[in-house]
């Protein structure tokens, strides 16, 4: 339950039963309430009544660990995925796109710096025909494109990739931009996902997830280079197998329909990504692969 106006938590609310007690203070409060209600008449229906938090539908992010951690991605809300480079943000984004396009939903990707890899996305299961890719050159184009897509409506998911844009630049985006995006996407089945280095939308984000690089997995047969379970040395016999990604729920203010599990702030989960079959193998094995050598 969220108070919709100045009476915050800890302050007595005029609608509570103690108002029935006749006292000079209660009389003043009643007069004040009447005055406020009169002033806001026609603009705010019930300024002193509590407003229930909206129940939102949660959908799979395509990664079971993330679904278990957060309950999924909220429809009609803004989800922020933040983290430094090589932290797994894009893997999460691509998984979410693959999950949504597999459900025959139309998705849009606003690529802030034209860094999207269609080959890897196709290998990850993204249905490219159902993905509208907007290749931007700067943050202004990205924000305006997002606005146009949101106004157009009908998308299952709109992902805005600002992760290659300097964090300082994204930080300068006015808060009302995120507020507007949040308001437009409300009451629609669209998932608005923001990929960036740092969280910027503050309380306008329904879910904020921070991801970080845990470790790289190297596979190989060179015994001299093997350390523990991983072959981590500099060897031609090694193969990048994947990476571990650590995900932490920074903030979650969603209330799912049916009361499913939601992410608790601060909860942490780890998922593994695999490079096999993504960027590396289809192209290298399909291409004119030649004998490995050292230069």
């Amino acid at each position: 339950m969220v108070p919709s106006i100045a009476f915050g938590h800890g302050m007595p609310c005029p609608t509570e039963p103690f108002l029935a007690v006749e006292s000079p203070m209660s009389g003043n409060l009643a007069a004040l309430r009447l005055q406020v209600e009169t002033a806001l008449a026609g603009r705010v229906a019930a300024p002193f009544s509590y407003r229930d938090r909206k129940l939102v539908e949660m959908v799979s992010a395509g990664i079971p660990e993330i679904d278990a951690l957060t309950g999924g991605l909220p429809r009609g809300g803004l989800t922020e995925i933040c983290g430094p480079p090589c932290s797994g943000r894009t893997s999460l984004l691509v998984s979410a796109l693959a999950s949504r396009t597999a459900q025959a939903e139309v998705c849009a990707l606003v690529d802030g710096r034209d860094a999207f890899d269609p080959h890897g996305a196709a290998a990850a299961g993204v249905e490219l025909k159902q993905l509208l890719w907007v290749r931007c050159r700067n943050i202004e184009q990205a924000l305006r494109s997002t606005d146009l897509l949101l106004q157009g409506g009908g998308f299952g998911m709109i992902a805005v990739d600002l992760s290659d844009i300097p964090a300082a630049t994204v930080r300068h985006v006015p808060l009302n931009a995120w507020f507007r995006f949040r308001r437009v996407v409300e009451d629609t089945p669209t998932i608005l996902m923001l990929i960036e280095q740092e969280p910027n939308a503050k309380t306008y984000a329904s879910l904020v997830l921070r991801v970080g690089f845990e470790r790289a997995q190297w596979m190989g047969t060179a015994s001299e280079n093997r350390v523990g379970d991983f072959c981590c040395a500099n060897s031609s016999a090694c193969l990048l197998g994947g990476a571990g990604v650590r995900a932490e729920v920074v903030r979650s203010s969603v209330q799912p329909i049916g009361g499913g599990a939601v992410g608790v702030d601060g909860s942490v989960g780890i998922f593994e990504t695999e490079a096999m079959g993504g960027w590396i193998l289809p192209r290298r094995c399909g291409g004119r692969r030649q004998k490995q050598f050292q230069i």
Binding site: S60, G62, I63, P64, D67, G83, P85, C86, S87, R89, T90, S91, L93, A104, V106, R113, A115, D117, H119, A123, A124, L128, Q130, L132, W133, C136, R137, Q141, S145, L148, L149, Q151, G153, G154, G156, S163, P166, A167, A168, Q197, E198, F213, C232, A233, N234, C238, L239, L240, G242, T273, E274, G278, W279, R284, G287, R288, R289, Q292, Q294, I295
Partner: protein, 633 residues
Amino acid sequence: MQRQSRVKDKSKKRNKKTVGMPGERRGQMSLAEEKAAASRLRLCSGQAALHMGFAAIYIADFMVQAVVRAEPELCDCAIALLEGTPPLRKVVAANDAALRAGIELGMTESQAEDFCVVQVRLRSLAQERAAHAALMDLGWSVSPRVEDTAADTIVLDLAGLSSLLGSEEIIAERLIERALLLGLMARVTISSNLETAIHAARGFAGVTLIPAGEEAKALGGLPVSVLVTSDGPFPRAEILETLDSWGVCTCAALAALPVLELSERLGQEGVRLHEFARGASSRAMVLAGPDIHFEEEMELEDAVPELEPLSFLLGRLLDQLCARLAARSLAASVIRVRFELEPVSENNVRSLNDSAARKAAVPTYEKFLTLPVPSRNSKMLLKLLRLRLQAGPPQTAVLKIFMAAEAARPRFAQGGLFLPSSPDPERLELTIARLANLVGEGNVGAPELADTHHPDTFQVRRFLAPRVAAESPSKMHSANHKAVAALRNAAARVDCKSLAAAHRTRMAFRVYRPSLPASVEMREGRLARVSFNGVRGEVVAASGPWRTSGDWWREDGWEHDEWDIDVRFVLTPAPHSAPLSSSQPVSMKRQRGALTRLDLFSSNEREPSAQHGLYCIYYDLARGNWFVRGMYD
């Protein structure tokens, strides 16, 4: 409905002032008055049963109406049309208001321009052609059997339409309303005799219903000059003069003359006139072949250099096209716009003495608007067209506009109950056009993988919304089943733990476009240190090289040795001015889409793990340089 009523109101005003030939009192009536007149006529004719016969549609003052159709703001004005080459231009047509103001046919241009209240325009054959095509569309919207009698007259066969469209009166009123939507003020007469219907349409304004056997009575009050045929101007002027000298002015007077004596004096023409006047002539209908060409043209007196006024003209043409398409229950799948432009250099034109060569030298500009689904929403089409023209405007001012629509069946789709929502195709097309205007034509669309092993090669295709709405009920049924199955699968996925074992998340890759130049330090034949874009790091693990090559038969063949590397970045900044390798180009520091040192370490203070990074680098054997292709993220 509001639009229709507005058009109707306008047409009433227009009709009051412009419609009607000189001498025709009924032509000066408003639409309501015309209908009332038609109703009175029907009452005078008795209650005889009407047979579904022929409907003649006549456009009075056709040349003027064709101009008014292209410029609707002229509907209340007095208009005179000129024809000829300057300075020999003369008035060839004028509406009633202009004639009342003093305009006479045959006046010169300078004489006509002396009348301040009269709008003087050039006669436009292109607009007349378009108006005639609209008139034909009006006919085909009701009946498949249409005769193209004249530029301003068509005849419809109404046989068998009563069960579909209703009584004759309803059909006639529907024709009047549709004509208004097409920008034409029509007169409709329904009669069982084809020629009588044509003659009465020329004589009576509004809707006229002539019962069978009442033809002579209905035509009786009309002047003899309304008796024309599709063969051309008939009767001839000398015959009319002869009849006038006899005191025969009306059809009733002509019908009362004895046929034999009339044929002795006027020949076969007199006999035909006599048949027309009695409503006794009969002939077979000459059917016009169905035409699905939708074209509109507009010649501009002054060249239009800017897009804003041009869009008004385009809007008018689109309105006309969409109204014609709507009349035929069709929609546009492709809109083609062609502009004839002002020549760039005047000298070039002056040097061309031959008019044909000059005509051939007129530059043109063409634009195609291919729609994902057929549409006849003129506002949406105009927005799309404007966005396209903004992206690539014509080089010089526009002299003439030609617009054509490729007709297709309109989309009838019903959304499925279990199908996921998808963007409305028309709105999506508009959104994509706006995005293309913002980021560039080739930067919006659906990615499509190219059939090559060259890294990072793809195409951006036009994005089309998946047709989730099935076209047929069976497809719809199967689509719903699929959707239900997908929902069940999605519900099954909620059980994350059961799937966790089987599910592996793919590691995504981010591409630097273009690749970042790098410098690499080798130690004992292995990658030791790498430096790119102002940052430097130790290579703690690497996999490679992987050689890929292709297109060796072309000049731009490629041959790369790739490594996947795990880099531990050094927090001390690498000096920008002192790269590790002398081969490192200076231009590498700031590249579009490249990471900067600030980006790499912006949150490193809080995230020690961010000091690591997984990158794909390659050595270009052709160029002999190192590059960073992208990073695993």
